[in-house]
């Protein structure tokens, strides 16, 4: 990144939930900067807090959750000072838009496609119905709906899954948001449609210059779309850096484990690597490194003290004691060493993850 204009900056965010009379800490002191126009991918296993963390940007936590600590600076304001829904409504959709994984259910089944686009334009930009319709049809055109004007009054059930996700993207981008959060946007789509949707997001990003946050399990998507990657585990970001940093030179043992368990890099006939053990219970206070109990390379200190972030390069940071100068030198597993080569193969033309 040559110019680093920070659009959004989260600091020490702590999110807690009330679950059956107990308090669960879903996000533990996460800090993250989002840069203008970049694409950040947040990866991690289920329950690592990827979605919860991004929900704090738009105040969309479930009703039993709350932000316990921290600040999220956006356009010179701490978003967490928004107390009323009305304040959040000015951010949601207008400045920070979110799209969810299932396009089949993201649209109201009994409202016309058109009205679902225009309502957001009318709400945030104060346009009249006619103006909003023009914007909506233009937006539908841009996301690749043929005969947009004719299809304006159709209902979601008349659209295919991929088309619906295009409409969801059109709605999300109708008000030219600064940030687009894509919460597993392609999980529910089949592979060919996935590629089309990803390309669409990429193209629109080039055109409008918004920042994209990708939440995904799919490291293929990451390799293709992202400029930077943040790896989350147990409610924390444990490593972040550029795509090259993460794929070429991962440092955290969890990142190694995560990358090793990619089905796409498994060798046919060999058993696929899986991470032993289970993620930590977020109900209890976590001492030391959250990954330590599952980490074959864990050291004594991993169970006692939480590691700080160590800088590996100006763009690459990891939160593991292995980077401490006193730690023994541990080589990453063999799969990781060849991973970069394999990813290059897969994302270049003809590869499984290739997106134009």
């Amino acid at each position: 990144m040559e110019e680093k204009n920070i659009v959004l900056s989260a600091k020490d965010v702590v999110v807690k939930f009330h679950v059956r009379d107990r308090v669960l800490t879903a996000i533990r002191k996460v800090s993250l900067d989002l840069y203008d126009g970049e694409t950040l991918a947040i990866v991690g296993e289920s329950g690592s807090g990827k979605s919860v963390f991004t929900k704090t940007f738009t105040g969309m936590l479930e009703s039993n959750g709350w932000v316990d600590n921290g600040e999220i600076m956006f356009e010179g304001k701490n978003l967490l000072e928004n107390k009323k829904n009305r304040d959040w409504e000015k951010v949601r959709g207008a400045k920070i838009a979110t799209i969810f994984q299932d396009p089949m259910s993201s649209l109201n089944p009994i409202k016309t496609i058109g009205s679902q686009i225009t309502e957001v334009v009318m709400k945030h930009q104060g346009k009249t119905k006619a103006e909003a319709k023009e914007i909506a049809i233009d937006m539908m055109d841009r996301v690749g709906i043929p005969n947009a004007a004719d299809r304006f009054d159709e209902y979601p059930f008349q659209y295919s899954g991929g088309m619906r996700q295009r409409i969801v993207i059109a709605i999300a981008l109708a008000c030219r948001p600064k940030i687009l959060i894509c919460d597993e946007p392609t999980t529910a789509l089949d592979v060919t449609i996935q590629a089309q949707i990803l390309k669409l997001i990429k193209d629109l990003q080039k055109e409008y210059g918004f920042t994209t946050v990708f939440i995904t399990h799919d490291l293929g998507v990451v390799a293709n779309m992202a400029d930077r990657v943040a790896v989350m585990y147990g409610g924390q970001i444990i490593e972040y850096g550029t795509v090259e940093d993460i794929f070429y030179n991962p440092k955290h043992p969890y990142t190694w484990a995560l990358l090793s368990s990619l089905p796409q890099i498994g060798v046919k006939g060999e058993e696929l690597y899986s991470i032993a053990g289970t993620p930590p219970s977020l109900f209890n206070e976590i001492k030391g490194d959250a990954f330590a109990p599952r980490n074959p390379h864990a050291m004594k200190i991993d169970f006692e003290e939480e590691p700080p972030f160590f800088q590996i390069s100006p763009t690459h940071y990891a939160k593991t004691w292995l980077l401490d100068p006193r730690a023994p030198k541990i080589e990453p597993p063999h799969e990781i060493k060849v991973l970069h080569q394999r990813m290059v193969e897969m994302t270049s033309k003809g590869g499984a993850f290739y997106v134009e």
């Binding site: 738009t58 969309m60 829904n85 009305r86 959040w88 409504e89 000015k90 951010v91 949601r92 959709g93 207008a94 838009a97 979110t98 799209i99 969810f100 299932d102 259910s105 993201s106 649209l107 109201n108 089944p109 009994i110 409202k111 309502e119 957001v120 709400k123 945030h124 209902y155 059930f157 969801v168 709605i171 999300a172």
Partner: protein
């Protein structure tokens, strides 16, 4: 769409047919036919006269559609010209003509026997189930026409349809030669324009409402007669309770009739003070339905929006109470409150239907459980919808909670509720048995249970047919209503099979 509706109607008619057939089988074949006299006092008086006893019972069974019954005279009248010598001879007991008739009918499957006293022959044959069904449906719809009346004593009866005025001077479409004098007429009762062209014959009631048409029992006004000053076409002015619109053809006029009427349409019904059973039930039911939907849906919406808060909890408590306490108990309770503290009448007839206070307690009693039901379902559907993905996305779009509720959730939640609206409106006709009996309202509610208890067989069949008809078609209307609201549902059937 048209094709689908047509198919649905045919299927609906078929299901009605099945229900009525089963009911007929049960009522006519499985229940001892002597039971019909259980509630009849007249039959007891005839016990000492075997012939009259036999004649009475078989006539009643014939009216109720059990069998075909003929006396010797009936059979002779059918066979011979009334003025012929053979006819006179046929009437004699033991005559060769009568014996021949006996043989003839025996061959047709009739049982022919001499009566215990006089020895005159009587003929009877049970209808089969199929015959009963055919008779029920073939007589069901009557279409009045100028050739409907065939009166041998009145060969010069004019046959025409013409415009004229009724006795009150309002315009009407009248007829000579039809069964009814007035085919289309206007009055102040809803729906203001009425017709006698198509009438339904659902059978004759017995032993309750003896010999009245079932349709009349349901739809005629009740109570004491109401008199009005009327000037007849003969110029006679009288205080009378005659309803001129109901006049039908009468073959033999007496002097009183001739004073009033210029023609043979002298069989008129009397105007009564109280609404008919059907009309009372409909009015009461509609008011309750209006209150039920008017309160139940908004309160249910409120509960959904304030889920888990005080308003929701209070509403839930109300729903649980209404569902768990037997209706007899809470209706009695509200009746007690109303009569003790608000001075409302505890029985409908105390003040009669003309006084609004008579309606308050029954309507509230009917509305309370409906409100609870609608609150429950509205809340439930809205809560269901509010956890759906499109609501999450609508929130991410920056819509406010009230915008999400009114623009997105409400319509989705209303769809399943709308389906039941025609049913609850039309269902009012069926009446409400507990409320009506507790407040002594003379509505439709008690009609079916009383008919079953009183072995009023034709009434049971008629009501089975009528209520089945109403419920089957209100379902159809509900489905049609949903297609209007829900764009996803189209009733088009494509020839390839499957829905478009």
């Amino acid at each position: 769409m048209k094709r689908y509706v047509l198919e649905r109607i045919i299927r609906s008619l078929f299901s009605i047919f099945c229900v009525v057939t089963i009911a007929m089988f049960l009522v006519y074949s499985q229940i001892d036919r002597n039971n019909v006299f259980k509630e009849d006092q007249a039959v007891l008086k005839l016990k000492g006269q075997p012939d009259a006893y036999l004649n009475y019972r078989y006539s009643v069974w014939e009216t109720l559609g059990y069998l075909d019954y003929m006396t010797q005279r009936d059979a002779c009248t059918l066979e011979y010209d009334v003025n012929s010598k053979e006819f006179t001879s046929c009437l004699e007991i033991g005559s060769p003509e009568a014996a021949a008739l006996g043989e003839q009918y025996k061959a047709k499957g009739y049982s022919v026997e001499p009566t215990p006293e006089s020895g005159a022959l009587w003929f009877t044959r049970d209808y089969t189930l199929v015959e009963r069904i055919v008779r029920f449906y073939s007589g069901l719809i009557n279409i009045d026409n100028p050739y409907a009346v065939q009166d041998a004593n009145n060969p010069d009866l004019e046959r025409k349809i013409y415009f004229g005025n009724d006795l009150a001077g309002k315009p009407a479409l009248k007829c000579s030669g039809c069964e009814h004098k007035y085919l289309i007429y206007f009055n102040s009762d809803f729906p203001f324009i009425h017709q006698n062209i198509v009438t339904f014959d659902l059978g004759t009631s017995y032993p309750a409402y003896k010999n009245q048409a079932v349709t009349d029992v349901m739809s005629l006004r009740q109570g004491s007669a109401v008199k009005e000053t009327v000037t007849f076409e003969t110029g006679l002015t009288l205080d009378t309770s005659i309803l001129d619109h109901t006049c039908t053809y009468k073959e033999v006029l007496d002097q009183l009739d001739s004073n009033k009427f210029v023609d043979n349409y002298a069989n008129c019904l009397t105007n009564m003070a109280e609404d008919s059973m059907m009309s009372v039930s409909i009015k009461m039911g509609l008011m309750a339905v209006a209150i039920g939907y008017g309160l139940g849906i908004p309160v249910g919406m409120l509960m959904a929006r304030r889920k888990g808060k005080l308003a929701d909890k209070l509403g839930q408590a109300y729903i649980v109470i209404m569902i768990s306490i037997p209706s007899l108990a809470y209706i009695s309770f509200f009746r007690y409150l109303g009569t003790q503290y608000m001075g409302l009448p505890g029985k409908y007839p105390e003040l009669g239907g003309a006084d609004w206070r008579s309606w308050v307690l029954p309507v509230i009693s009917l509305a309370l459980p409906q409100i609870a039901g609608l609150m429950m379902w509205t809340r439930r559907y809205m809560v269901d919808q509010s956890s759906s993905d499109y609501v999450k996305f609508a929130r991410a779009k920056g819509l406010s909670e009230s915008e999400i509720f009114s623009r997105h959730i409400l319509k989705n939640a209303i769809i399943p509720i709308a389906q039941g609206i025609p049913g609850s409106i039309i269902g009012c006709i069926n009446g409400a048995i507990i409320t009506e009996s507790l407040y002594a309202v003379s509505g439709m509610g008690k009609l079916l249970p009383n008919s079953i208890k009183g072995f009023n067989n034709s009434m049971v069949i008629a009501l089975t047919f009528f209520f089945t008809f109403l419920s089957v078609f209100s379902l159809l209307l509900g489905d049609l209503l949903v297609t209007v609201i829900d764009p996803r549902i189209s009733l088009a059937t494509s020839k390839k099979g499957g829905r478009k």
